[in-house]
């Protein structure tokens, strides 16, 4: 039975739940916009990294480099789209 619950993955789950709880502080405490956003950014990206490395085995195969290149590229495009759109459609008008 023990073999079915490897420590790494159990720790991963505990980390995930802890980070979720940490993120919830922005709801239960009255944080400033900047502080709240920073907490969310940090917890969200940490969670994503845990999923990728612990659960998705992103770094285990021979294609590690390609996989990470793909993810970085995707993240780059997503971030550029998000912030560029905000820049062009919202912030630019102030």
């Amino acid at each position: 039975m023990r073999a079915l619950f490897p420590l790494k993955q159990v720790m991963g789950l505990i980390c995930s739940l802890t980070l979720t709880a940490a993120a919830l502080t922005v709801y239960f405490f009255d944080l400033s916009f900047e502080a709240g956003s920073s907490v969310l950014l940090i917890t969200a990206f940490l969670q994503a990294i845990i999923q990728l490395t612990v659960f998705m085995h992103a770094g285990e195969g021979e294609d590690k480099k390609i996989i990470y290149t793909g993810i970085y590229y995707g993240a780059f495009v997503a971030l550029v789209t998000v912030f560029g759109s905000l820049l062009a459609l919202v912030w630019g008008y102030y």
Binding site: D63, Y73, V77, T81, S85, A88, Y93
Partner: protein, 647 residues
């Protein structure tokens, strides 16, 4: 509106009725011809169900050529209408439909398909592979593209074409201002073919990264392979943006949502923004493979290795990243202020740097070469000066303050045609001529080809240079007519003459295909151009499995080294070869998507639901199917290899 009224064409005219009859006759002719010559079996088992990348490439090629003529007919009609002031050849509505379909057909269904054609045909051969990573997915990609294109093209005769520009800006494209189903067609046809393109992107990245011949490290790949790799990365990350934008547009039009409306919090600018987040990388999706083809052709016919291989690669990777950082330059005039515009001006101009590096590297490849002016080389050499002019006007357009004056004018139209035609169309014709002997086993006639080149090269300049001037004189784009007092008349007339030249050029290309099919000698060697990369190491015609023995590679020009330095390409003994089986599933799923799209356009929801279930059913069937492909025994391989093999 009555249910059946929506299927009627909103502004019928003689041309539309004529095309209806023409389409019907063509379909009947094809069906009758196939039946009469008893070719159904052959067409179905050898082509429609094929998973062979070479055949899929050829099917892409035929589709692209048909679309080229559809889009070209639109272009000629546009130039004819605007050739003289106050012309009444076409009405405003017809003109609007024509320029919209011209844009969509040329970009999505012609240029993209042409690129897919050449990538499909050449990439596996160039990396020494037997097929792509997912052959069946590749066939599905083609059929999604094909049925998307068909769906878009029937809009002309059922329900009306889209008429709000290829960029389809909301709220003009919304239901308030575009009541016909035309824009629904636009949304769904692009969605379906876009899905096909995305799958191709995934397929080719995997193929190029995982299936290269032993020894071919990334920095030993031919330049066309590099350009295809970079392009497919852009495809994979840019097309989802289009998917989302189209889905939102479809929902606005059919489900009454408020994404791009002007009330209840909708934001019309968001469409423009998302469209160009995809649209600008799309430009590089078109141009980068072209750069790759030029690199191959220049080094082949200058008889020299490509100058500055490393900086070519670095500059392409740089372009691929920068291409995602510049889209706001398509709407500098939207009012986002000087700071935002300055940022995007600078990022846009920065793209000129890697592009400049490539131009100079090509020029220096010519240096100390031994230049032969074959047809592919002529297009490549024609590309350099015309593209440079198109490119530098791009830098001019990138300057936000000046763009306020160029935006939406014929200056812009001149710029992007002078980039896309020498950049993409020249490359496609060059690539077509270059790889034609490998595809079909005979050469295209050089003399007719050269005539076609001169008509096209001069035609492009004569058509588009005058637009710079009329644009600076205040002619906005997409105007179906103008008054004589504007003074635009002379420039538009010159453009029309140039367009006729282009028409002659393209007709010559078709004539060349006809002529060469009839008269060209068939016994050509596997390497007729004395070229440098691995596709020429195969016999002509290329066997199903491409390479009897997978080659070993030690440099970016392995085949050249094999010919000149006695380098050993094929070292392993012949073994039986595993190949995938043909499958009817891709075309069936594609047809399912066609029905789905058509029903969606007209909001026939029961059919939408049924076809959705059908598509998922096909996927489930595929998952449960046991199909491990087949083996070609050694005896068959050796029989094939007697003949034109270079081994």
């Amino acid at each position: 509106m009555n249910f059946f009224d929506r299927f009627a064409v909103p502004n019928p005219s003689i041309t539309i009725y004529a095309s209806m009859i023409a389409i019907a006759l063509t379909v009947i002719a094809i069906i009758a011809g196939l039946t009469y010559f008893k070719k159904w079996q052959y067409v179905w088992s050898e082509w429609l169900t094929t998973v062979d990348h070479k055949r899929i490439g050829i099917m892409y090629l035929i589709s692209a050529l048909i679309m080229l003529f559809r889009g070209g007919a639109d272009a000629i009609m546009m130039r004819a209408q605007t050739a003289v002031p106050d012309n009444t050849l076409l009405g405003a509505k017809e003109y609007n439909e024509i320029f919209t379909t011209h844009g969509v057909v040329m970009i999505i269904f012609m240029a993209m398909a042409f690129i897919m054609a050449l990538m499909n045909f050449a990439i596996p051969l160039q990396i020494g592979a037997r097929d792509v990573a997912f052959p069946r997915l590749n066939a599905l990609s083609y059929w999604l593209y094909f049925f998307g294109a068909m769906l878009f093209n029937i809009s002309f005769v059922i329900g009306g074409s889209p008429d709000s520009g290829w960029s389809s800006y909301f709220p003009l494209a919304g239901t308030d201002f575009s009541q016909s189903v035309g824009t629904n067609y636009y949304m769904l046809a692009l969605q379906i073919s876009g899905l096909g393109t995305l799958l191709t992107g995934i397929n080719f990245i995997t193929t190029i990264l995982k299936m290269r011949a032993p020894g071919m490290t990334l920095m030993k790949m031919p330049m066309f392979v590099w350009s295809a790799l970079v392009t497919n990365f852009i495809i994979v990350f840019a097309f989802p943006v289009l998917t989302v934008a189209l889905a939102m547009g479809t929902m606005d039009r059919l489900f009454g949502t408020n994404f791009f409306t002007t009330e209840n919090g909708g934001m019309d600018m968001l469409w423009a923004n998302l469209f160009w987040v995809w649209g600008h990388p799309e430009v590089y999706i078109l141009i980068l493979p072209a750069f790759g083809i030029y690199s191959e052709i220049i080094s082949t016919f200058a008889r020299r290795n490509l100058y500055g291989y490393k900086s070519m690669v670095i500059s392409m990777v740089a372009i691929s990243l920068l291409s995602f950082l510049v889209w706001v330059h398509h709407f500098f005039t939207m009012g986002q202020g000087a700071l935002v515009n300055s940022i995007f001006s600078v990022t846009t101009m920065v793209i000129a740097v890697p592009t400049g590096i490539k131009i100079f590297n090509w020029l220096f490849t010519l240096r100390k070469g031994k230049i032969e002016f074959t047809v592919p080389m002529l297009y490549t050499l024609g590309f350099i000066p015309i593209f440079t002019i198109g490119g530098v006007t791009g830098v001019m357009l990138a300057m936000a303050s000046a763009d306020y004056q160029y935006h939406n004018t014929m200056f812009l139209v001149a710029h992007f045609h002078l980039v896309i035609i020498p950049g993409v169309v020249f490359a496609m014709i060059a690539g077509l001529t270059y790889w034609w002997p490998k595809m079909f086993g005979f050469m295209l006639n050089e003399r007719i080809g050269k005539w076609a080149f001169w008509f096209i090269a001069i035609g492009v300049c004569v058509t588009f240079f005058p637009m710079f001037i009329s644009g600076l004189n205040g002619q906005a784009r997409r105007m179906y007519t103008y008054s004589e007092s504007t003074g635009f008349g002379i420039w538009n007339m010159i453009s029309f003459v140039g367009a006729l030249g282009l028409l002659v050029g393209f007709i010559l290309i078709v004539y060349n295909i006809y002529y060469s099919t009839r008269y060209s000698p068939r016994n050509i060697p596997g390497d007729p151009w004395d070229a440098r990369s691995l596709e020429w190491a195969t016999p002509t015609p290329v066997p199903e499995y491409n390479f009897a023995v997978i080659p070993h590679v030690d440099s970016s020009e392995a085949f050249w080294d094999y010919k000149k330095k006695g380098y050993q390409l094929f070292r392993d003994p012949v073994q039986s070869i595993h190949m995938p089986n043909n499958s009817g599933l891709p075309i069936i799923i594609g047809a399912g998507f066609f029905v789905w799209g058509f029903a969606f356009v007209f909001g026939i929801w029961p059919v939408v639901i049924l076809s959705t279930l059908f598509i998922f059913g096909c996927l489930a069937y595929r998952s449960l199917e046991k199909d491990h492909g087949h083996y070609i025994p050694v005896s068959d391989i050796e029989i094939d290899e007697q003949g034109g093999s270079v081994q």
